[in-house]
Symmetry: C2
Subunit: 243 residues, 2 copies
DNA sequence: GAGTGGTCTAGACCACAGC
DNA sequence: CTGTGGTCTAGACCACTCG
């Protein structure tokens, strides 16, 4: 290490970070596991502890790692808590957060539509797996959700014995396929409920729905999942914190 | 400095940060101005440069300061760019970001409703200033917005010669009143357009609208503004980035 | 007590902006 | 050339966790 190049100038701690991410992606360390201590990593990479620290801090700041004083640095794992506080933004009027129950309506294997291909950076027609499900809050159907992923990234998904989808999808992706979701972009709009949506969500056709179009990205910043959520926001709202 | 207490244990750099924020709030340094260099601040506070650096970095990470290598550390100022990229989330289908033109419909001075009081942490009935305006994107009316602030925080606002509201409100708050908005919480939902909304936005009554209920906070983390935006999202969408 | 991350220091050198 | 922030190092000490 300790080599600086002419053109780019990549700081050491960035290089260390890249190496660490490579090892995460390769599965050297699994979610929930503890990394070697700062000192050991510094020795291994032949840099100072402070440099390793800066790399680890950056990764912790984007929730890829979790640091615990006195214990160690852990690979962040998708838990119910994380699903609830980072990736599920529908909350009650009183501010309560509850993960909805999910009921899968059906699973299809198709070629990617033009839109799906665009969202997932695939070739049109590339094989994808599609799930439809209804999620209920307080026992009432509240979200009608369509989830699309590339079959190439999740072989066997949606076929026995993997034909069911658990409630917390990202946890499942991580544990079964080693695919970790780290961030997402959501496009939100209001639309009138169609017949199917109205029936599934127990609403009148034409009722206003909040439509969330989400693309979720993995550790390497490539799109992994496309999700369309149509939400009845008469008893909940979508929370967005800006700073 | 350099004193540590028994109960709390406040790291030095946090104490430095608190002092810096105090001086920002008091108006010692105005938005857009340069702070003293790290070395000078370190001398002043009798701490090392690294400690000042950590305090400054934290403030930069929440957009209170802006650091420019080779130049200095600046107090973040609300600019059109910041309004556009941090506080305005309606973007076109192609991803284009445009700040809408605004037309103020009216200004009222009232006592805070129960809801306004709750949002702004005021006593019910406390004097507030209310603006209604319509914002247009691409020449089409797209957002009907109601803005509520406490009169005590903005004396004279909405009365001559300050009876008009510029397009970029936070810039105005900052320059005219020294009140800096640093973060906000938005509650988003879908609702059907009422008669007035439909008329103002050139829609059919009952058309689905995106309703954004925003509370914006100042440097001291106290609520400053409550804003209700009803948006026609047929040609735009609300963008939310999660990580 | 041993080991971990967290804070603080002091100093060297690098990249960048501007005179 | 000077001054700024950015990187990197080495070492000391503190707070926390656990056996």
């Amino acid at each position: 290490m300790a080599t600086a190049e002419a053109p780019g100038f990549r700081p050491l701690y960035i290089q260390v970070k890249d190496l660490l991410i490579k090892r995460l992606v390769s599965g050297d360390w699994r979610p929930g596991q503890v990394l070697p201590s700062e000192i050991k990593l510094a020795d291994e990479f032949n840099v100072s502890q402070g440099t390793v620290r800066k790399a680890l801090d950056e990764m912790a700041s984007v929730n890829v790692l979790v640091r615990r004083q006195g214990k160690g640095t852990y690979v962040a794992a998708h838990t119910h808590h994380r699903a609830l506080f980072h990736f599920f933004h529908l909350i009650g009027e009183d501010g309560s957060r509850v993960l909805p129950e999910s009921r899968v309506l059906g699973t299809r294997h198709r070629g990617a539509t033009r839109k799906a291909a665009e969202r997932l950076s695939l070739a049109p027609g590339a094989p994808v797996v599609i799930f439809d499900r209804v999620r209920s809050l307080d026992g009432r159907p509240t979200v009608f959700e369509t989830i699309v992923v590339a079959e190439s990234m999740f072989p066997g998904l949606g076929r026995p014995p993997r034909d069911m989808l658990p409630n917390t999808v990202y946890e499942y992706f991580e544990q079964e396929y080693g695919v970790t979701i780290v961030n997402a972009v959501e496009r939100v709009r209001a639309a009138a409920a169609g017949k199917r949506e109205a029936r599934l969500l127990d609403l009148a056709p034409g009722a206003p729905l909040l439509v969330i179009d989400r693309v979720a990205f993995g550790l390497e910043r490539r799109p992994v999942e496309w999700r369309l959520s149509r939400c009845d926001t008469s008893r909940h709202h979508y929370l967005s914190e800006i700073e």
